[in-house]
């Protein structure tokens, strides 16, 4: 596990199937849609998840500031850094780590309030996606409210880049083949996924 992974926020609320994390709004180290993240579950346990939604709520002051002709840079910074209007990230659980082994099942328990959420490094992404045989895809395909095709496209784009960097250029084809197998009876979803993959991964 990479000790230098980027801290992207803290847990607001959680369940077995997923959790929501909050973070200050910052352009520098903002989490990305489809990114693999992890949260602690105890001494040797970590849960892994994929970010499937990111949103920033407004409030009365933000709505009022929009009516100003120009918004000062310091005022924008004040609202992003000081005010309690966090960026919220919805994360679906896709597996967990128990000691040295990675499991593509739902975690045994949810992470707790204010636990730190880290974005996984490319090395961790390679480690997680190499474990087993794409068992975590079923969590993504079953997600009721998530834009499945877009998540898979973003995830496969990031993961294949990490695998290619690590010298494995076959991972992307294997992942795509696995998706075709899993979705062979669901033509509509398969087309949506392949279309998104086609946009994300042009040849």
């Amino acid at each position: 596990m990479d000790k230098n992974a980027i801290e992207i926020g803290r847990l607001l609320r959680s369940g077995i199937a997923g959790y929501v994390a909050g973070a200050r709004v910052s352009e520098k180290e903002s989490p990305q849609f489809g990114a693999l993240v992890r949260a602690p579950l105890g001494a040797d346990l970590q849960t892994y998840g994929l970010i499937y939604d990111i949103h920033v709520d407004d409030d009365g002051l933000v709505r009022q500031l929009v009516t100003a002709e120009n918004v000062d840079a310091a005022v924008i910074e004040d609202n992003r850094v000081n005010r309690v209007v966090p960026m919220e990230m919805s994360i679906m659980a896709v597996g967990y780590r128990n000691g040295e082994s990675i499991v593509h099942l739902l975690p045994p328990r949810p992470p707790l309030s204010l636990d730190v959420i880290h974005q996984c490094s490319p090395a961790e992404l390679v480690e997680f996606t190499s474990a087993g045989s794409f068992g975590y895809f079923r969590h993504i395909l079953r997600a009721p409210d998530a834009p499945v095709g877009e998540i898979l496209a973003a995830h496969i784009q990031a993961a294949s880049a990490a695998h290619e960097e690590a010298g494995n250029s076959e991972w992307r084809a294997e992942a795509t083949q696995e998706l075709i197998t899993l979705l062979r009876d669901d033509y509509a979803t398969l087309m949506a996924v392949l279309s998104a993959l086609g946009d994300a991964l042009p040849e």
Partner: protein, 398 residues
């Protein structure tokens, strides 16, 4: 039982029946006031002398006192200083509640510091002060005593932050610069006022000493200080002693008077405050004010800005303060109000949940020492009972 809306509706009809007549009366008063303002605009010395005469006959006379600018003068907004530090503080409180389980109160002051022209986020600070088990001979500490302490702490917090702030420095608070309180209360309230006033004036003196401007920003002012000056101007000398009881322009307000005179961004002439209580602020602390139109074309919005003598006597400082306030109000677009003052309020405000958390923390600490913590009154407990709930299948128990 809900409000008796049938009766209320009748009352509203009666009120609105008189509204056109009242609006016409007020319009007439404001027209008269504007004519008086124009007619006496340049009589600065004569008016000062007349106000002093009126004050000698009526110790409670409270009105504006011209300083040196013509009464109907309007000054356009100067350029913003290239660099400056703006500090704003605002306070909030949890008042003592005799129905609560514990007798405590809290004063919370929020402050922000912003560097003009910088892209850095303003620095935020909060100072919280918890008071437990304090009583007066009348019972718990009164709300007005807490408000007094809050106002004093706002100014003291600004002084604390001003020590390390960059110059030129401008400090803002919401509300009048003059400390209010101490009237009609118990001797303890009066003593508390005297003590707080001394601390408050010391804080102002320190700000003056370090060359920081300070101002109290009054949004939607209802005052009629200039209107009362015009009443003095129009009165015969033999009427001056009785003027406060006659009030020929009663109902007219300074804000309505100046909104016809000041263009967006413009300020009025600076006036001093003639009042018995204002005499407490002598020399560099002398209380002054001007009106400022922070609105936009076709939508004037007047604020009263109270400033001490040391700001009035420094024309560069006064001009920069004028520019900074217009800039701060512009930041909030269609609701012109100084951005930093709003943010200071946001930082300071204490929620009901926070009040409950503080009470719980206090109770736990006292119970850990096997001390009796008391209970909330039965009246409060009954008020806190939950409202009616609807049964639905599968409903969880709360």
């Amino acid at each position: 039982m809900p409000v008796d809306f049938i009766t209320i509706k009748d009352q509203i009809k009666k009120i609105s029946a008189h509204a056109p007549e009242e609006a016409e009366r007020l319009q007439g008063l404001h027209k008269q006031a504007r004519e008086l303002l124009a007619a006496h605009a340049s009589e600065i010395s004569a008016l000062r002398e007349k106000v002093n005469t009126a004050a000698s006959q009526d110790a409670f006379l409270r009105c504006a006192l011209p300083v040196k600018e013509e009464l109907d003068a309007a000054f356009s907004v100067p350029r913003l200083p290239e660099s400056a530090t703006v500090l704003a503080a605002d306070g909030s409180q949890i008042n003592p509640d005799r129905h609560a389980a514990l007798n405590f109160y809290l004063i919370n002051v929020g402050a922000l510091s912003m560097e003009l022209g910088s892209i850095k986020a303003p620095e935020t600070r909060v100072q919280s002060s918890l008071h437990f088990g304090e009583y007066t001979s009348a019972g718990t500490i009164s709300e007005s005593m807490v408000a007094l302490q809050r106002d004093t702490r706002e100014r003291a917090f600004l002084v604390e932050l001003a020590q390390d702030a960059g110059q030129p420095l401008f400090t803002l608070t919401d509300g009048p610069l003059e400390l209010w309180g101490g009237k009609g209360g118990s001797s303890e309230e009066s003593e508390s006022f005297t003590k707080n006033l001394a601390e408050y004036k010391q804080a102002l003196t320190t700000l003056a000493g370090i060359g920081a401007a300070t101002a109290g920003y009054v949004d939607k002012p209802r005052a009629d200080l200039v209107v009362q000056l015009l009443e003095v101007a129009a009165a015969h000398r033999e009427e001056l002693g009785e003027l406060r009881n006659k009030r020929p322009l009663r109902g007219a307000t300074d804000a309505n008077l100046f909104k016809e005179i000041l263009e967006p961004g413009q300020r009025s002439a600076v006036y001093a405050i003639q009042s018995k209580s204002a005499r407490e602020y002598a020399g560099p602390l002398g209380l002054h004010f001007f009106y400022l139109n922070v609105g936009r074309p076709g939508k004037p919005w007047l604020a009263r800005v109270e400033v001490p003598s040391w700001v009035v006597e420094n024309s560069e400082m006064l001009g920069n303060l004028h520019a900074i306030l217009v800039d701060q109000c512009r930041m909030l677009g269609s609701r012109p109000y100084p951005y930093l003052l709003h943010r200071a309020h946001e930082e300071a405000v204490v929620t009901r949940l926070e009040k409950q958390q503080i009470s719980d923390m206090l109770q736990r600490e006292l119970q850990a020492q096997n001390l009796e913590t008391g209970e909330e009154s039965q009246k409060q407990s009954v008020k806190n009972l939950p409202g009616r709930r609807r049964f639905t299948l599968g409903q969880k128990r709360n």
